[in-house]
Amino acid sequence: MDRRKEAQMRRRRQMVAVLLFAAAATVALVAAASGTAGGRHSSAGVTGPSGWVGSGGTTIGSGGGYGESYTAPSPTLQHALFQANLLPSNKTARDISLAAYGRSTKTVNYTLALQCWKNNGCSTGTGGKYTVAYVEGFGENTYRQMSKMEFILDALTYPSIGKIIYRSAHSDLNQAIADFKSMIAQHVSAIVTYPDFGDAMLPVFQQATKAGIPVSTYAWGYVTGPGTNYTTVVGEDTCKLGKAFAGVMNTQVKSGNIAFLGGFPGNPLSTSWQKCEQAALNPNIKVVANEPTNWDPSKVQGIVSGILAKTPDLAGLSYEDALFMSQGGYAAYQAANIPYQGVFTYRTDEANMGCLADKLKDPKLKIYYYSAGNAQIRVALTADMMKLQGAKIPPTIVFPIQLQQQSKRSMCLKGYPPTASGTSLIPLSLLHKMYP
């Protein structure tokens, strides 16, 4: 009898201990969450330019039409494109780009922008007749979240836009199609999207186009038939990106083993540059692996580790995402106890990779990169808005490629969150409010 009582008491004591531990964790969680929310109220009523304006410099471009001015400050263009003259060669495409980047000088309400970003949409308060939507297939990483803010900032420069909508399908194709159909059913005025599922989105693109809704994609989110099945695709020529990567490998690696990493299997972005890089490599360079990573740093670590196991003398690696290589990729090298050296070509320019390279200070670590291109979403929205005003939009808006060398122009920009791209046009003060 006593033993049973003792056992009961012991169980109670154990349960009380577990409950106390859980309660302490709850308190800590609430404290952590409230700490997060602490800085939110300080931004009330703050306004500023919708994009990076910089100081000095000249104004590039001239003329205007369809409610737009085809001019932009040169510091803005340099910030987003590395050089002010790296604009599309097609005149209309160039005008649309200048109009979008030029809108960075217009004043917007940062408090509203932040609320809109946090709440995944908002009413702009202008009473404008247009509703614009950003429909995402993937959604929640920093790159896409920053693109969302760029979209909101550009939209807030249009008094005619009364409502902004954001939808994310979290990598679920059925959800992405449902989101798109929902936008068509709501008769939104314009849609901007990153079609993570490629041509699987074609039927809904065509449906929206038939319904008179302009649809544009950014960051070379390529779906078949721009100009007919949808309005336009904005981005760099990914085949030229692959050729630029090959140019670096041919001159820096010269001969040896390299590897390709891509995103989701078969996605058009990875497939395009990989095909063109492979074709342009000199015969002494061998591509020993070509692996999809689903743009998941955990997967990157496993795959890089596998490649290193097979090819410990890996001389180079090409991939879209500099951030994931600074996370999963670096961790794989660390775990394998192999020096983080070689020639790396990336499409994006997240600060974390630049800061890691600056910290390592290894001359044998050679990094070349392009731009994440978050600001391209502004060009896509402006193209849609001009289409609504009756402008003829070219089917592709293509930016020239110029790779940057980390040792000469570091990605590690002062004040930028580690996971953010330095070529984004989001004003730094607002970026700090997004990621306090």
Binding site: R11, V18, L19, F21, A22, A24, A25, T26, A28, L29, A32, A33, G35, T36, E140, N141, T142, Q145, P265, V288, A289, E291, P292, D296, P297, S298, K299, Q301, G302, I303, S305, G306, I307, L308, A309, K310, P312, F324, S326, Q327, G328, Y330, A331, A332, Q334, A335, A336, N337, I338, N352, P417, P418, T419, A420, Y435, P436
Partner: protein, 316 residues
């Protein structure tokens, strides 16, 4: 596992090299610890789909509260483990006391935790994704040439196995899992054991999350998302029945190691993505077919064929 090692030695010898093990062992350990948690729940006839949520929350809290400073690490680890206990306790109460369907309840709780973790990651961790250097250094250290994460995992596995096998609480826990009605008739508290299973599982997921954070060095919003089905696969391959009953911590560990090695082997073999999925799927089915009790049953059947039972031998 032996068959896999032989196949790897023939078709992908690099998978058995030092560089490969430096990845396989820490990741297999994290999967093994998550699988041990899942095993405790499966032993009680339940299932737990909150694993990715807890691992994600634990990792993000390590980076968020740790804030890159070693002196914050103890608090970060305590809060991360506390979240695991809390989530497990909630799951346990909802399933064990309120008798709700474990599949739906743990999925729902897991989604809530994952959503919170995703928001916390976006709000706090984006700006400081690196885990404190102390944890990262510990995770990359290799006492006796083997990852310290592996040694930690091994110690946890031994403790779980010993507790289940040699303590009164462990034996009662196994008895309740094997036959809840019988255990209830014998005076054992079935509900308490179910709550205990989910709470212990939540704690183990959090431990896995902390170790994974050390291995990964920095945290991203997708952290932990790959741990929904892999722990269940490991438990089932290890011979456990999803309807409850007996399971082995050692077999679960070996199954987790086999799954991780297989993944790495397929990458090293350079198979196309489609082919990797096909081979992985076939390997899981093959693992289930040849696992534990089936081999024992097949051996028993063969033995019966060779040596007929005495009462049959004496007839006719």
């Amino acid at each position: 596992m032996l068959a896999l090692l032989v196949i790897a030695a023939i078709f992908a010898p690099d998978a058995l090299g030092h560089t490969s093990w430096s990845y396989v062992l820490p990741y297999a350990t994290v999967l093994a610890i998550a699988s041990l948690g899942q095993m405790l729940v499966v032993l009680q006839g339940g299932i737990d789909l909150s694993t990715p949520g807890v691992i994600s929350a634990a990792g993000n809290l390590i980076a968020g509260i740790g804030a890159g400073a070693n002196h914050n690490l103890p608090a970060a680890i305590l809060v991360a483990l506390g979240v695991g206990v809390l989530v497990g306790l909630v799951n346990g109460i909802l399933v064990g006391v309120m008798r709700l369907n474990p599949l739906i309840v743990t999925l729902a709780v897991g989604q809530i935790v994952l959503a919170w973790s995703s928001k916390y990651s976006r709000d706090v961790v984006t700006n400081r994704p690196d885990v404190p250097a102390g944890l990262a250094h510990w995770a990359t250290a290799k006492p006796l040439g083997i990852s310290s994460v592996f040694w930690m995992g091994l110690a946890i596995t031994i403790v779980v196995a010993l507790v289940l096998r040699y303590t009164v609480t462990g034996r009662r826990f196994l008895a309740v899992g094997a036959n809840p009605r019988g255990a209830w008739i014998a005076g054992l508290n079935v509900r308490t054991n179910v709550v205990l299973a989910y709470t212990a599982a939540g704690t183990l997921y959090a431990v896995g999350g902390v170790l994974l954070a050390g291995v990964r060095i920095s945290i991203d919003p997708a952290f932990g998302s790959g741990y929904l089905l892999a722990p269940i696969a490991a438990v089932v391959i290890a011979g456990a029945s999803l309807s409850g009953g007996l399971a082995s911590a050692t077999s679960t560990w070996v199954a987790a190691l086999a799954l991780t090695l297989l993944t790495q082997m397929l990458v090293i073999m350079g198979l196309s993505t489609a082919m990797q999925y096909i081979v992985f799927g076939i390997a899981i089915i093959a693992g289930m077919v040849v696992s534990g009790d089936r081999i024992a049953a097949a051996l028993a059947w063969t033995t019966r064929l060779v040596t007929p039972p005495a009462h049959e031998a004496g007839t006719g």
